[in-house]
């Protein structure tokens, strides 16, 4: 009688509870994978954004030292003159203590995303600003 019962139970297949549990586990797995893919593509787009911002910062740095007569004051601006409304820049000019030598740092931020986790790009360097007239040797 007991053995017959076991055989009967075995033939039952899965119960509804078991099936639901397995589907739940499976769906958790699928959701995790989907989430992973989403995070990956988000990370990629962020890296691309930072890359674009770094290039913008590099060009802005070049432009600043090429076109500004006296780099003494901090400056800010955007890239609308380059048909780009997504980012804005700010330049910090620090005195180094050495005559005619200033430290220029250009930072590019996204215009819309102002949260602390927003991507940011920096380019900085030391600029020698030759005085208008010199009495000594040219550098």
């Amino acid at each position: 009688m007991y053995i017959g019962n076991r055989i009967r139970r075995r033939r039952c297949g899965f119960t509804l509870i078991e099936a639901i549990a397995s589907v739940a586990i499976l769906s958790i797995g699928i959701v995790a994978v989907m989430g992973g893919i989403g995070a990956m593509s988000r990370a990629e787009s962020r890296i691309r954004q930072i890359e674009a911002m770094t290039i913008l910062a590099q060009h802005k740095y070049d432009e600043l030292i090429a076109t500004t007569a006296n780099l003494t004051t901090n400056q800010t601006g955007d890239f609308t003159d380059q048909n780009n409304n997504d980012y804005s820049w700010s330049a910090t000019i620090d005195q180094t203590g050495v005559t005619n030598l200033v430290a220029v740092s250009v930072t590019v931020n996204p215009t819309v995303d102002t949260s602390s986790s927003a991507p940011v790009a920096h380019v900085s360097g030391l600029i020698y600003q030759a005085p208008a007239s010199t009495t000594g040797a040219t550098p």
């Binding site: 033939r11 090429a66 500004t68 380059q82 048909n83 600003q129």
Partner: protein
């Protein structure tokens, strides 16, 4: 008896219906995902080619060199001017190289050294220069030439002269016969001769560019043209602003390159640009 009866028709129908709905959903999601992936990939490769183009232009402009003393070395020049509008039916296709058929033969009857031979006509660059002719130093030698163990004569024959001053022209209008190809054309001649308008070989730098224009910073303002042939003391602009239009994009892309070999600064502006106004 009751256990071995199997599924009823109703149960089967329901299960098949559910399965069908789920499969439809999956297929939908998959097709959207594949389309998105394709889109991303295409965008990435486009962006990559733009970046490559900007890098190459930047690299070229960073090496621009002119001899400051006029007549001392007439093979160096920096000319940016408007008016090189494309004659109908003359354009260049992607990925192909056009030979400008050697010195003194290519070109539309341009003679002499100056830009006078290039017609200043209607163009879409809004008065800005759309053609840049320049000489550079410090070009990278070909990797194959560096690795070669052949003697000088053989290398010179295979790779052409290395080092020295090279002449380049950047324009959407090829000098030679383009055989119906379009895009931004780079003309290269090594070593540079005194003729800025022709010679060397042409190739497509970027096939998607339909228009390019240049502006030159003389230390005070942005100039629309620049011509070292017309200067008594040759000077380079302090910076060059490059604006280019991609065929399928609405807005121009812009980037600015500083010329490290220029002696012009905002505190000591260029005395003359020599531009053809």
């Amino acid at each position: 008896m009751k256990l071995s009866r199997g599924f009823t028709l109703l149960e089967l129908l329901i299960s098949v219906a559910i399965l069908g709905a789920v499969t439809m959903g999956c297929v939908e999601v998959m097709s959207v995902a594949i389309g998105f992936n394709e889109h991303l990939r295409a965008g990435r490769s486009k962006e990559q080619s733009r970046r490559t183009f900007e890098d190459r232009m930047t690299d070229l402009l960073k090496r621009v060199y002119v001899d400051p003393v006029n007549n001392a070395n007439p093979s160096t020049f920096f000319v940016g001017q408007a008016g090189n509008s494309a004659p109908p039916g003359q354009s260049v296709q992607p990925g192909e190289t056009v030979s400008a058929s050697g010195v003194g033969q290519a070109g539309s009857g341009a003679t002499g050294q100056t830009s006078a031979g290039v017609p200043i006509g209607a163009n879409s660059s809004g008065g800005d220069a759309d053609t840049l002719m320049l000489t550079v130093i410090g070009r990278k030698p070909a990797a194959a030439a560096l690795a070669s163990t052949d003697d000088f004569e053989t290398n010179n024959q295979n790779f052409g002269p290395q080092g020295g001053i090279a002449e380049y022209q950047v324009s959407t209008t090829p000098v030679g016969d383009s055989q119906g190809k379009q895009g931004l054309v780079l003309r290269q001649q090594v070593p540079a001769d005194q003729d800025a308008t022709q010679g060397g070989t042409e190739s497509i730098l970027e096939p998607d560019i339909t228009r390019i224009r240049f502006q030159f910073f003389d230390g005070t303002t942005w100039q629309t043209s620049w011509n070292t042939f017309a200067q008594t003391t040759r000077q380079l602009p302090n910076a060059v602003r490059v604006s280019y239009q991609i065929a399928e994009e609405q807005n121009e892309r812009v980037f600015i390159v500083r010329l490290p070999l220029s002696n012009v600064t905002p505190l000591s502006p260029a005395t003359q640009t020599g531009g053809s106004q």
